[in-house]
Amino acid sequence: MTADAQNDPAVRRAQEERLRAVWEAPKGWFFRWTDCNNNRVGNWYVLTAFAFMLFAGVLALIMRTQLAAPENDLVSASTFNQLFTLHGSMMMFLFAVPMFEAVSIILLPSLLGARDLPFPRLSAFGYWSFLIGGVFVAGSIFFNAAPDGGWFMYPPLTTRKDLSGLGADIWMLGLSFIEVSSVAAAVELIVGVLKCRPPGMRLNLMPLYAWYILVVAVMILFAFPPLIAGDVLFEMERLLDWPFFDAARGGDPLLWQHLFWIFGHPEVYIIFLPSIALFAMLVPTFARRHLLGYPWIVLAAVGTAFLSFGLWVHHMFATGLPKISLAFFSAASQAVVIPTGVQIFCFLATLWAGRVVWSTPLLYATGSLAIFVIGGLTGVMVAVVPFDWQAHDTYFVVAHLHYVLIGGTLLPLFAGLYYYWPLVTGKKLSDRLGRTAFWIMFVGANLTFFPMHFSGLMGMPRRVFTYPAELGIGGLNLASTAGAYLFAAGVALVVIDLALSPTRPKARRNPWEAGTLEWLTLPNSENWGTRSIPLIESRYPIWDQPGFVRNVDEGRYFLPDAEEGRRETIVTTVLDARPLQVVRLGTPSVKPMLTAVALGGVFILTTYHLYWLALLSGLATLALVLAWLWTGTAEIPEKPCKPIGHGLELPLYLSGPSSSGWWAMFITMMADATAFSGLVFGYYFYWTVHPAFPPSGAGLDGPGIAWPMVALGLTLASWAATVAAREVHARGRVALARMLLVAAPLASLGGLAAGLAGPWSTGLDPTLHVYPAIVWTLAIWTTAHNGIGAIMQVYTLARSLAGRMTPTHDADLRNITVFQHFLALTAIVTYLTIGWFPEVA
């Protein structure tokens, strides 16, 4: 295909026909739900998250009604506790994080001129997991079984069986399931940003939204796993009575707080940075100029992410930790103001330097920044330790966090909604309704939350189902309640605006006259994304590159066709986006949905202690995943290369670090290793809080040094065999590679048996004390990885025997080697910790 050929309209029409056929969405009452295209899945995702937000908002209204007057008895204490637990948990786990991922799934391909995300089926899997887990958690309130321990779920209140019920398990297992889907989406987004950019879009030309996605997804990758590790310990205590948080048996409730807040504080920035990202897209559009200080913004975003992992103790200022560490975390908490200030001033300077076109999205952005800044200032206040000792766990903090989240997440999302609605539907929303809704929400939010600063300092603790009249805070609370209803009215107006949208005419293309790539989208958009994948030379190509839109539309850039009838997009290099490969993308399939159902079954059945059925569900999950991988990944193409225009010819198959699959494996394993370090942190945390650790006594001595060292040796042998198999396989010695792939899983299974033999043979009783419990946990974690590693090795062997893997097409083998690297590291840390450390401690 040459540029000249594109002059012929008939050629272009034929190409479009082929693209349309390839990217056609599945039809039928059931099969339409098997779609995995980013537009469709992204829209489902956004709508579901929005619905959960409205639901959680209604819960808040009930709470505000209860608190309108002192000693009110609209709802019982039990219901109230379920309401605030679910409100917080849903807004965090079912709205804020998924909403960011959903919006990114919609936007990212068009921001990057890609046809879809690298792993469309993974998006679909993530969505179905989210839906199932979300309905499971949210629906529990209708059965009076919702979690009621607060969204932070502090043990021992939530781990003691006599003080908490099924709700705690629903929270832990339901939300763990959703965390899995969040991590899956994060992997997808990171690989999308790093590997699916259009040719020429070096990292420093990337739209800022993509930078923020990258930063936030990396944060999810490191923030969620500690919580998953905490969840593991938590459920072990609830289901098996392993005393991780029971002080009477050597546990410590503070470990949960550390693990929770190592997740919980980055979480705040995980849901705030995407909003800044939306500002970074719309501010230049309405200032009619490039964003001022691009590198500063990127550095500030990275800096915020980095700092956010060093702040978690500011949620624990009142737990009695040493003053010196409080001072450190206080300073770190305030330092985060600096990158935030840089970002806000970059926007301010851009507006100052540009020609401002006032608009509804800009009104939302301005209003949300005003609210956010108030929340930020009270944030500085609570970062000052002595002030926090007064404000902590009072309504002052409720006010602070809602200012941050409404100004930093909710209103910016509405700004994004008004800005990007034309991109998704081709229609503009009503400026009049939008503006009115904004003012109602703005007044409502302030009326709700401003008085709470005072009710908090005047003695109102958080999470109280009522308060005595003698505190004199009835008037403040009544104002808050009125404000909440006002705010809800504003949200309702937005919903009405959205509902009226189908009746409105289509807007023109790029209605805001923006300069970034995503506005190539036509009002009647097609599933295939951009018509041809452009060559990028500027941050604002629509403004800066002459003839850009026409060239894209007429297919004069890359990959304007789908000759082989396959869904394809271009994979480029990580740093400078040199084209590397044409990758074939997943097509609609029922497998992601079924896998989500099966995996959901594991979590949900475990909640009800139906362990055998949960095990069956787990086996079904494994079978589905293997079937999905076998049929849908690392396919050997019918020809090695294909032309993509302008004389460029790209391979259709890549393996190793240049392929997207290798990166997905690597990134997933980073998350896995982070969860593991959460558990290791637990071991050494107990060591620091106990004068004698390991303790001595019957059932406490173990696991000895012999078995752990045998397990370590066998695991390393399995690792070495896999690495050797990769090397000899690449040199064409397939038979030897297969023999190594027979030996490797045997060694791995041996490692599994030896790893468990240590604590087993020494009779470590995990219900007796926290020491045997944490040793068992580390051993189980590592040996479970041995098992998974063995399955991977056998799978790869089978691929080789089935002719689906050859020395030139060895993605499977290279990917499982990544897993083995991480497994080897995990085994070294585990067995040195549980086997060798007690000898030297």
Binding site: L157, G320, I338, A349, V464
Partner: protein, 341 residues
């Protein structure tokens, strides 16, 4: 309907609207505050102790600083939106970001840390100072006064402290995490099972105050309050001496009912046969200000109702209900308890 492209005048008109609306909102807020009555007994804004006084001062500094920053930022934003194109050069913009976005916040925050962090240092405690161990329970407070050199005195749900003297609270928890907060006295400190935290305070103004549990601790978290009395030192010493003495109940039918119904299984009334330690010590119950951890008034009817159905006032309370106890018997027990001065 906003026009897509608007002139500078249009923008300005719009901003006037913004300002007008903003004035209206803040007017409404000020009114809200005026309506609200101010309590003087459970408020960080009405301190009676040295620590809380210091934090109130800090609060004022922080609030004034915040308002100044907020107003300055709002003014800058309005100016930025109004400024004609090109008023700010690229270089000028970058300087703005550097100075106002990075340098000024760094300096302000550094100054703030230098000013505020020394306030974290607790006042020194000597061996002679009064120690009070308070243990959080669902949903009440176990209190033990430990004056130097004498055996401890047990009480519950009420803390009395002498003004002008240093007092060190030793904070523990028996079941779940609680948090000990007397806003007029000092900031809060968590009570965590397996740990002992210390909170050192000095009350300055005598009076009756109130504290509350601030860590969510279960169903009746909202009903876990604490009466606090700051007393002149001499009066405090007299009071503590009285508390140290065993109960001297007048013989009454209530005492027999108390024993018959097994109340002694959980409650101690020193000087009688009641030695239970699961629930609050009731030796000088009648001398306390309120019942059931600051929840009910010290009145016979309220106590009798609580004895029969504790769940009504405190959902999830550990105390078993006695719904079959005749109301009159409950009143007898209540009268007996009130007599324990």
């Amino acid at each position: 309907m906003y026009k897509y492209k608007v002139g500078a005048r249009r923008v300005r008109r719009c901003e006037k609207g913004v300002m007008r609306r903003a004035r209206r909102i803040f007017g409404a807020m000020a009114a809200t505050l005026l309506i609200a009555g101010c309590n003087r007994h459970q408020s960080a804004l009405a301190p009676f102790g040295a620590e809380a006084e210091q934090v109130r001062h800090l609060t004022l500094v922080l609030v004034v600083g915040s308002v100044v920053i907020l107003v300055a930022l709002a003014g800058l934003w309005v100016a930025a939106v109004r400024a004609p194109e090109g008023r700010l050069s690229h270089k000028g913009g970058m300087r703005l970001v550097l100075v106002l976005g990075a340098l000024v916040p760094t300096l302000v925050l550094f100054a703030l840390l230098l000013y505020a962090l020394p306030m974290m240092r607790p006042r020194p405690v000597s061996r002679a100072d009064l120690r009070i161990t308070v243990t959080g329970e669902q949903f009440w407070w176990r209190v033990a006064y430990q004056p130097a050199g004498t055996p401890p005195v047990t009480a519950a749900n009420e803390v009395r402290i002498p003004v002008g003297r240093t007092v060190a609270f030793q904070l523990k928890a028996s079941d779940v995490i609680h948090s000990f907060w007397i806003p007029g006295l000092a900031g809060k400190m968590d009570m965590i099972p397996g740990r002992t935290n210390e909170l050192v305070v000095r009350a300055d103004v005598p009076g009756r105050y109130r504290g509350a549990c601030t860590e969510f601790c279960g169903l009746s978290h909202a009903r876990m309050a604490l009466d606090v009395v700051a007393m002149e030192p001499a009066a405090f010493d007299r009071w503590l001496a009285l508390q140290r003495r065993p109960a001297a109940p007048a013989p009454a039918r209530g005492q027999a009912l108390f024993a018959e119904n097994g109340c002694a299984g959980c409650h101690t009334v020193r000087g009688t046969g009641a030695l239970g330690t699961i629930g609050p010590d009731l030796t000088h119950f009648g001398s306390r200000l309120r019942v059931a951890a600051g929840t009910l008034p010290m009145e016979t009817e309220a106590i009798a109702r609580f004895i029969r159905k504790p769940d009504d006032a405190k959902p999830g309370a550990r105390m078993p209900a006695f719904p079959h106890l005749p109301p009159d018997d409950a009143r007898q027990i209540a009268t007996y308890l009130q007599g324990l001065q």
